[in-house]
Amino acid sequence: MSVHVMTAKEVARKVIQKESFFILDVRNEDAFQDWKVEGDNIQHLNVPYFDLLDGVEEILPQLPQDKEIVVVCAKEGSSIMVADMLSEAGLTVSYLQGGMKAWSEYLEPVKAGDLKDGGELYQFVRIGKGCLSYMVVSNGEAAIIDATRMTDVYLDFAREKGLKITHVFDTHLHADHISGGRAIAETTGAVYWLPPKDAEEVTFSYEPLEEGKGVTIGRTTLAIQPLYSPGHTVGSTSFIVDDAYLLSGDILFIDSIGRPDLAGLAQDWIGDLRETLYKRFKELSNDLIVLPAHFMIIEELNEDGSVSEKLGTLFEKNHGLNIEDEVEFRELVTGNLPPQPNAYQEIRQTNMGKIAPDEEQQREMEIGPNRCAVR
């Protein structure tokens, strides 16, 4: 019948609205097992495109009559080929424009909250990879936290809203994705802040992010208070924004907690991780809205696509915050770690400025899920 193009944005809307649809993923089995488009009401079928070169007849009985079918592959080439074949067989199907590459790079901006001075807090949901970044907006100025390498998204967003980006932060040296923080700071003239303990080997200059140093965004006093919270990395720093939001970086997530091994020192940092989660965060107000730098499973998304929860609720429901026994805690965060993110060492080197891969290489390095958490 016919072939339609579906953008990553359209797929993201479907996932957020929990729409029911069918994905025919034509990547090889390993790639599919490792990472795929996930959603509450998505049905998947994985048949590699190279098994369909002689025709799609064999899989026709496995395709639904009453559901939208989206063909997905790594970059889009193979999905177009398969979609064309299905169309010739009489079906109406779509393919994901740009494939999993585009899915990995798509950011959905969601308003996460209002600030007391009339400002706003936006969350950029990288739905395909589970990364969350933030823009704090007040009186014509903006701060960006944990930016991805898709810097145009933030720059365009700020331009549309007439905002001047004045500060850029990374809560820690990321191991799962390439930071866009330095590039944004260079483009806009903003100050780039990094926790000094994570930045000992970086090749560029930065402003050391330390507890007690408040930053003001806009003309009114919007304090971004750094809170030293080691454990995922030795420098990991959280922010309390407007006394209402806790940007918890990769230390505390909605349904999981940070893993301590990606910078190589799991054993040393377990104690730090526990101290941060069980003492430092415990002393904070239960009413703070936790805004993490990742989500791990699609169930962590709220109705509007945002990812947030009250700190008090997390202390009740997040398993990782409720392990009284230290030995058991140690076992959770070291004994059962998921595989490390793809190319995480190279990603760290890139974020330190030690290597400068081109865009295509950066893309390849970031393939797959983020895997920064343990449950």
């Binding site: 090889n28 590699p48 495109y49 190279f50 070169l53 790594a74 970059k75 193979s78 390849e364």
Partner: protein, 75 residues
């Protein structure tokens, strides 16, 4: 390694390296070896998986600069 045929799939994007490999394989006899040159990084995992599912044997692979080379024996 000695190949009976060399396929140049450099500069081609997925799915073409495998489409061409399959075609080239059809022209070979069982036991003969096809050497493939490709630049699409995805070809690495896909050719290995295709070789397996097609009952062929991936004898060897190499990376020379940005060119990926594969030697596949027809099953």
């Amino acid at each position: 390694m000695k190949a009976n045929k060399v396929l140049d799939a450099k500069g081609l994007a997925c799915p073409m390296p495998i489409v061409k490999t399959k075609k080239a394989m059809n022209e070979l006899e069982s036991g003969q070896v096809l050497e493939i040159h490709a630049t699409d990084k995805g070809a690495k995992a896909d050719l290995a998986a295709w070789t397996k599912s097609g009952g062929h044997e991936l004898l060897d692979q190499a990376e020379e600069g940005n060119v990926l080379k594969f030697w596949i024996k027809k099953g």
